[in-house]
């Protein structure tokens, strides 16, 4: 039976290990925003982030922000498809200690292995619901690698951020793959009913 967890970031390994695929998570605290260019900058071009990501959640986003004086204000923050950024994930988890990746669509086997080894999870957000996400972001606290905006490294502070579904856990369970396997099992029956066999 799936559980609902209310957490605070950054996360400890034991908290992350207590999460299981299908559980629902909400959390308060810091959240880092990353996208394709941010990770190309870190991993392919060798620029270490000027801030610790230890225990942190990272979300796949490219936010619409407005600069007012020396502050950044949110306009619209939504989530993008994760699969494009799969290859950076083991590095984020293994090298930088990231404990949660938030996105939509899921990641592949290599990322799942890293989650198992180091203790991390993939949290699926509701795509298309940017209005809710934007509301749950209290503040844009800092922007690092600013020249990459809107694909810089963002530190947001969030309140009751969610619902997020644990879609890949640290015990090797991959919810999207499970759903896919079940579809494969049912398919002959569905084809038969549709009369396409």
């Amino acid at each position: 039976m799936s559980k609902v967890h209310h957490l605070t970031s950054p996360f400890s390994e034991s908290v992350i290990r207590s999460l299981h695929a299908g559980d629902i998570v909400y959390f308060d605290g810091p959240l880092f925003g990353i996208r394709d260019l941010t990770q190309i900058h870190i991993f392919d071009k060798g620029n270490r982030p000027p801030v610790s990501l230890e225990g942190m959640p990272c979300i796949h986003t490219a936010p619409s922000l407005r600069r007012v004086g020396d502050k950044w204000e949110k306009i619209c923050v939504g989530t993008t498809t994760s699969t494009r950024m799969d290859r950076f994930t083991p590095g984020l988890i293994g090298e930088y200690g990231v404990r949660a990746i938030i996105g939509k669509g899921g990641l592949y086997q290599g990322s799942l292995e890293a989650m198992k080894k180091y203790g991390a999870v993939y949290l699926a957000i509701v795509g298309g619901a940017a209005a809710l996400e934007t509301e749950q972001i209290e503040e844009v606290e800092a922007v690092y690698f600013e020249e990459l905006h809107p694909e810089a490294l963002y530190r947001f502070r969030v309140k009751n951020f969610g619902p997020l579904t644990v879609a890949m856990d640290s015990h090797g369970v991959h919810l999207y793959e499970q759903v896919g396997e079940k579809i494969k099992e049912k398919l002959p029956e569905i084809y038969a009913k549709l009369g396409v066999l």
Partner: protein, 293 residues
């Protein structure tokens, strides 16, 4: 006959893009509510609850529901009981889409296809996508605006089957395409299907299909029955909202068809995500504008 002020058309084109991004059509809201009522998976139910919260926030704050502002599409139907200048209408749509982007302001999702440079206008060569149609019994200008997001558009697929493959191959293709798209098109959305026509027309029909209000069936009973059959098959997969498992994998299947060549059997699938956005304006010759869906 007095000439219309085309600034009214431009203003409507601007307002339509903004309205479509912020105000989800009532039929889609209703379909999501019905889907939630029949969903039994607890995690899937919480996905629906987040969708409803996002819709409420977009309503109360007059803000974008989804950050993907899509590619702008305008479908225009020109009445024949009044003289309209088609070229001026086209120009007004271009300017309206551009002004919406810069004046709201929101992210332009439109970019050069090779250099990938994005001038932050939502318009450019070929954009906005515009379709013109004409009707006998009206003096009005009817503009339907659809911002098409990429998560779903990237899942589009078409196939030129042969007559010998029959409707069997067509149905299997539709189901397989939806299954392969997985969580990417932000399910549960509208599955638009085109049957017949030429290679370009079949995809246009699939796109027309996603703009039909949810709850309306095709008037041809044979096509309507096929819509129901495919909806049941897709929902039986258990893919669920956002692909995380559940009872509801699509809100509706809509099919549009055309006659085709004796040697052809084309099919196309164009998916629309759960925020199935669209907005409509009716402009009278006197310049009165009514907004709807």
């Amino acid at each position: 006959m007095e000439e219309l002020d085309y600034n009214i058309v431009e203003e409507a084109a601007k307002q339509l893009y903004i309205k479509a991004l912020c105000d989800l059509p009532p039929d889609v809201r209703e379909a999501l509510k019905k889907a939630y009522a029949r969903e039994t998976n607890p995690a899937a139910r919480s996905v629906f609850e987040a969708m409803f919260k996002a819709i409420d926030i977009a309503d109360s704050k007059k803000t974008l529901l989804c950050q993907d502002t899509g590619l702008p599409i305008y479908k225009v139907r020109i009445g024949s009981q009044y003289a309209w200048n088609g070229a001026k209408i086209k120009k007004a749509l271009y300017e309206g889409a551009k002004r919406a982007t810069q004046e709201f302001p929101f992210r332009s999702s439109s970019t050069h296809t090779i250099t990938r440079l994005n001038p932050q206008t939502s318009v450019g060569p070929g954009l906005p996508v515009t379709y013109f149609d004409f009707t006998e019994d009206s003096d009005e200008l009817d503009i339907l605006m659809v911002p098409k997001g990429s998560g779903s558009e990237n899942m589009s697929k078409m196939q030129m089957f042969y007559p010998q493959h029959g409707i069997k191959a067509v149905k299997k293709f539709i189901l397989d395409t939806v299954i392969e798209s997985g969580a990417n098109p932000c399910p549960p959305g509208i599955i638009g299907v085109g049957l017949g026509g030429t290679a370009d027309l079949v995809m246009k029909l699939a796109k027309d299909a996603i703009t039909r209000p949810v709850g309306q069936r095709h008037p041809d009973p044979m096509i309507a029955a096929m819509e129901v059959e495919l909806e049941e098959a897709i929902n039986a997969t258990g893919r669920g909202p956002m692909g995380l498992g559940g009872d509801v994998s699509c809100l509706a299947v809509h099919i549009e068809y055309a006659y085709t060549h004796i040697t052809q059997n084309p099919v196309a699938v164009n998916t629309q995500c759960w925020p199935a956005r669209r907005a409509r304006a009716i402009i009278t010759p006197a310049g009165n504008v009514t907004y709807g869906f």
